[in-house]
């Protein structure tokens, strides 16, 4: 299976949310990284046929996905960023309804729903109303509904947003487990989510693709170095003004700074191993904090 963005553009009035994207995806996990407003959600909505492109097209094995209509959506699973539900439905009813929408025959749907409830660890909540579920449980129902039709294309928009650290790790592992043998596009602005599970990472800014590659490739693409140094508290503000600071840690008598800079910023600074978070700050620094501030 090959998904291709061909000169893909989406404009809302004068605002260009996605700007002439040309990309190809095959099997594997693709991590879409960018700050809020980068165009990630718009791109995903077009991929899920929720929005029509202003220009260009998306093809699946050479066919336009909008012309394929239901045939394309048959192989699609989608977990939106801010997904709604029917508050009075139980988890089981909700999943059975989505199964029907996905065209799964009733008998198979009942079995699949049971399996998915088990897989996402919601057996005890199967008969609970959706409105009674916690945020984490709702996300798990969300991933269950996306997986009901065993999709070949899985689109996950900010799947870990709003989850506590425990839930996030559990959820990340679940996605990793589910991503075998399919094409997964995972969008987030939480760098660590992608670092662990994505085979290829796309960095998106202002609707355009800035960089793509594996985590190591992106790290090596940085043209600046990462430094760590311990400075007095009084000096922090002058460093923040001059450098991109990827981390600050207050300690007794001062602050440990993680600085992205071509040159050594301070005499006592020690060069550190760059991470994907440093890459994120390097590319999106302006929007990551205040001016060249911290992540």
């Amino acid at each position: 299976m090959e998904l291709k963005f061909d000169n893909l553009t989406k404009e809302f009035g004068n605002f260009t949310a996605v700007d002439h994207l040309n990309l190809t995806m095959t099997k594997g996990v693709y991590g879409l990284l960018g700050v809020n407003g980068a165009g990630k959600t718009t791109l995903m909505r077009m991929l899920c046929t929720l929005l029509k492109p202003t220009e260009g097209r998306i093809t699946c094995d050479g066919k336009d996905i909008f012309e394929m209509d239901g045939e394309y959506r048959k192989v699609l699973g989608y977990l939106p960023q801010d997904f709604g539900f029917y508050p009075e439905f139980t988890v089981k009813d909700y999943l059975l309804y989505i199964s029907t929408l996905k065209g799964i025959p009733p008998a198979a749907a009942r079995k699949r729903v049971k399996d998915m409830i088990l897989k996402v660890g919601l057996s005890k909540a199967a008969n609970k109303k959706m409105k009674k579920l916690s945020g984490g449980m709702k996300r798990r129902v969300g991933i269950a509904q996306a997986m009901l039709n065993n999709p070949k294309i899985l689109v996950l928009d900010e799947p870990t947003a709003g989850l506590d650290p425990n839930e996030r790790i559990r959820f990340r592992n679940l996605i990793s487990e589910l991503s075998e043998e399919r094409l997964v596009l995972l969008s987030t602005h939480i760098v660590s989510d992608i670092e662990y599970i994505a085979n290829e990472i796309w960095l998106m800014k202002d609707g355009k693709l800035m960089h793509k590659g594996r985590a190591e490739e992106l790290i090596h693409s940085m043209e600046e170095n990462v430094w760590e140094c311990f400075v007095e508290k009084d000096l922090v503000s002058s460093f923040v003004k001059r450098y991109k600071i990827s981390n600050m840690k207050s300690e007794m008598g001062g602050v440990t700074l993680r600085i992205i800079s071509r040159e050594k910023p301070f005499e006592n600074a020690v060069q550190a191993e760059p991470t994907l978070e440093d890459v994120f700050l390097y590319y999106f620094g302006e929007k990551a904090g205040d001016g060249n501030g911290a992540v």
């Binding site: 899920c48 929720l50 209509d69 959506r73 997904f83 539900f85 009813d93 929408l101 065209g103 509904q145």
Partner: protein, 404 residues
């Protein structure tokens, strides 16, 4: 899939409340309707409701049959005998008058028919019967036609030649003599049914107004439209659910209301001509046929208003905007007509579908392609067709919806 759509509608608290309110309204309107039948006993005491209906039925059914010349003469004689005593004729002695009236209840509708026939066209003279001979009374059916002709010739209201001919033809071809029996159950049912149908249509419109917009309101739209059936079969299911709610609720509640009223007031009289209640009606229908016409009009009006509500719901993604639609379609014009004089074309507006009762009573005629007909007879098929067109439009609007 339709089952889930229905479940979505009826799992919402506001919709459950709407159904409860509808049940309460039905009971209230049924009780009010039942109290439309009055009876005065031999002591001059008035009652209403089920017991009154039972007594009145016994009285009236003694005169059951065709109201021929012979019967008309007999009615006049019977009435004369009752009203000849001094006590009854005394204007101060109302109790005695009530007692006398109690004896005439069996023939009260025939007396009213004679009074109407011998009154000026737009008036009712309750004493007209006192001034006519039995021979004159026997010409009551001819009098109906001659009254119409006189009124048309007077030029009080303008009618084109075609419409005049239509009216006269309808009057002349009405089958006489009229069949008579107790019909008050049907009469009461028809008098209140328009109010009930309007309330029913508004509540049904409320129930269906969220079917399409709630996907957006609850933010379930993204998942809905990204599924295989989201832009085809699922939309058809939503339309089916809307149609089933409109049809199901309409049929069930109209039948319940009819059953309650007729069970309490009696089913006899279904075959009597509607002219017993609507002397000037141009329709050749019985009470039962008139009922069917009113109910059919109400259904088409409800279907049309609900389809519009669903279209607004699908187009603007707002349940609140959709709820307003049935009110606009069914209530705005009757309300405006009380404030300002609306042009004649307002007789073609959909609110008229829920007021077929008044169309049966006083027709607004229209000439289309040289053929004269009543507007009610025109708007019913027109809006039925329009409703049929709205559903494919609804499908296309929702199919093209984008999630922004």
């Amino acid at each position: 899939m339709v089952r889930f759509e229905l479940k979505k509608v009826f799992s919402r608290f506001k919709n459950k409340m709407a159904v409860v309110i509808l049940c309460v309204l039905m009971i209230v309107v049924s009780l009010l309707t039942m109290n439309r039948v009055y009876y005065t006993d031999e002591n001059g005491n008035h009652t209403s409701g089920m017991q009154a209906a039972k007594s009145l039925r016994e009285e009236k059914n003694q005169w059951r049959g065709y109201v021929t010349d012979k019967v008309l003469k007999k009615v006049l004689k019977e009435r004369e005998e009752i009203y000849q005593t001094k006590e009854v004729l005394s204007e101060e002695n109302t109790k005695e008058q009530d007692k006398a009236y109690a004896k005439t209840q069996g023939i009260s509708s025939i007396v009213e028919m004679i009074n109407t026939a011998f009154s000026p066209w737009r008036d009712y003279d309750g004493f007209a019967i006192d001034r006519i001979s039995p021979e004159e009374a026997a010409r009551v059916y001819e009098r109906r036609i001659s009254n119409l002709k006189e009124w048309l010739d007077s030029g009080e209201e303008y009618f084109p030649e075609g419409q005049k001919e239509f009216l006269i033809r309808q009057y002349e071809t009405l089958e006489t003599p009229f069949y008579y029996e107790y019909y008050e159950g049907w009469s009461a049912l028809l008098q209140n049914i328009s109010t009930f149908l309007l309330m029913l249509a508004l509540i049904i419109g409320f129930l269906v107004s969220g079917i399409f917009s709630d996907e957006f309101v609850t933010k379930a739209d993204s998942i809905f439209f990204s599924t295989k059936a989201g832009r085809n079969r699922a939309i058809v299911s939503k339309i089916k659910a809307g149609f089933f709610i409109v049809t199901g609720f309409y049929v069930v509640f109209v039948m319940l209301y009819t059953f309650i009223v007729l069970f309490a007031l009696g089913m006899e009289g279904a075959g009597c001509p509607i002219q017993w209640d609507m002397w000037r009606s141009v329709y050749h229908v019985t009470f039962f046929e008139g009922y069917l016409f009113i109910v059919a009009g109400g259904y088409v009006g409800t279907l049309f208003a609900s389809a519009l509500a669903m279209i607004v719901s699908a187009a603007v993604h707002s349940t609140a905007a959709a709820v307003i639609m049935p009110f606009m379609v069914l209530c705005a014009f009757p309300f405006l007509s009380r404030i300002i004089t609306l042009p004649g074309m307002c007789s073609f507006f959909p609110d008229q579908l829920l007021d077929i009762y008044n169309s049966l009573k006083e027709s607004v005629l229209v000439e289309i392609g040289g053929k004269v007909m009543d507007t009610a007879g025109v708007i019913l098929p027109v809006y039925l067709f329009a409703s049929g067109v709205l559903f494919p439009v609804l499908y296309l609007i929702y199919k093209r919806a984008e999630v922004k």
